[in-house]
Symmetry: C3
Subunit: 210 residues, 3 copies
């Protein structure tokens, strides 16, 4: 994370907390106990980056090197339990923070792959994994078919963000400028996707092979 | 993959595409969007080898080193969407390609473990993981109990194939000959298992512990 | 495992077998075949330690280095099939062995992280992952929401055990003494949790965000 700016760091922490809070609400819908809430929050907030690191062989994982990330995530999850009564009025703040998190996670994931000298396609895949896998793991542990497979544009936002970021850097633009450009592309795209219900075309297939 | 013959390479690509196509049909039954179709196809086609590599610490993963594999799998998945209308007539071609893929994935997985100097049991386990884990991940993401736990002989075919391959090589036979022998054992065994509904005995237990 | 005492080794084997047996019964409730029973047993008994090793980058994994562990686990699973008729009378022996296994897995997991020079929090997390992840993977493969998220104290027992173990060692006490102290804390705690139905508070949330 040394190559990311301070701003990105701050937004990263905010996004981690937001992911933890949405995971805590999902845990509450499954009537999990406080431990389950914290574990689901950790898997959701840190699972994307961890999966990317496992697949790329990038050790140590962020939370192993900086264990305070676990405490931050658990604190956000427990905070959510305390204030759950008012949380349901916060749909839009959550959606905005989640969208910002998606974009920032993507950029950080791209940075890891770039620092390892990966090829362009893998850089973009690494960004996308960082952005979306946490939510997939959350849905699998809650026994749902992952939402990212069928909802409004989400993974696509991550791919577009990663592409802007990677090719911006390739063009030799200043790092801060490229970060801002990537956020300024991905974040409004996600917000627009929610507002206007932009979705990828569905593939509906109901025949059995015979 | 340097030690595998050209034939094995070609069959490997065909098998990857076949796995991607069956995954795409499974995604269609869940009404996933095009992105979900591609992601499920990648997990199914490449997840077995990736799991093997993670467990053995064998880096870089095949698709990280050769990202065009991701494009191949996504192309096969998108092709499936386009031609889904006629796919349901292709049950037997799919079953045959899937069976061939199982055998070839197994051989490639054994090769990786052999090149790492693993013990015989781990070589066979590595082959089996390569052959079956993609399908398990597909079923978990589709929120099903994995089919491989209860259907016609599948993992068993992989184990038999791996054993023939490993001990054939141990006997000092020519590599090409051992590949052919392993395929000639495993593939007909799988086809026969489908035709004659050969299954492992089931373990049915319906008591609660008390 | 060099730093663990012989006693710990023996209890570890017993605990592996007990985990395998409970997994086999879970597989039987899903009508899995013999192969599925063995695979689910391996994932349950060895999945916690394997996940810990993947996340910490600790290679080779225990069962890759000592493949006889796979045979031990499969033997215990197949034994369970044979004697399933009488197993349902063994609820308490199973619960006791499972509780002992939780504690011993935790200690072994802590040892691995300590030997890698990890920080205190990561040592305790490593112990907890070793203790609980096998059961989580079992429940995911059986298509259940993991039991550990809502049942009697389980992960908490693991965390307490790990804390006693880690800080006991930090105090400079003899290794054998600390092992005994950790077991003597964690095991009765788990038994009491089952007897008296001690649970973490639940977080119940049934509103949608709006």
């Amino acid at each position: 994370m040394a190559s990311t700016s301070l701003l990105l760091q701050v937004v990263f922490f905010v996004a981690l907390a937001a992911e933890a809070m949405t995971a805590a609400l999902a845990a509450g819908r499954r009537k999990m106990d406080w431990f389950g809430v914290c574990l689901l929050a950790c898997v959701t907030a840190l699972g994307g980056g961890s999966t990317r690191d496992l697949l790329l062989g990038h050790y140590p994982l962020a939370w192993v090197e900086n264990p305070y990330l676990l405490l931050l995530v658990c604190a956000a999850a427990l905070f959510t339990i305390t204030f759950a009564r008012v949380m349901h009025r916060l749909r839009w703040p959550f959606l905005l923070l989640d969208g910002l998190g998606l974009v920032v996670f993507t950029i950080i994931g791209c940075d890891v792959a770039i620092a390892m000298g990966q090829s362009p396609l893998i850089v973009i895949v690494a960004g996308m994994l960082t952005g979306i896998v946490g939510g997939i793991l959350r849905d699998v542990l809650c026994n749902d078919v992952p939402l990212v497979f069928s909802g409004e544009l989400y993974a696509t936002v991550s791919i577009v963000t990663g592409a802007v970021y990677y090719f911006g850097l390739q063009l030799g633009l200043a790092h801060e400028l490229v970060i801002v450009a990537a956020i300024a592309t991905g974040f409004p795209l996600r917000v627009a996707a929610i507002l206007f219900k932009w979705e990828m075309p569905k593939f509906v297939y109901d025949k059995e092979l015979r």
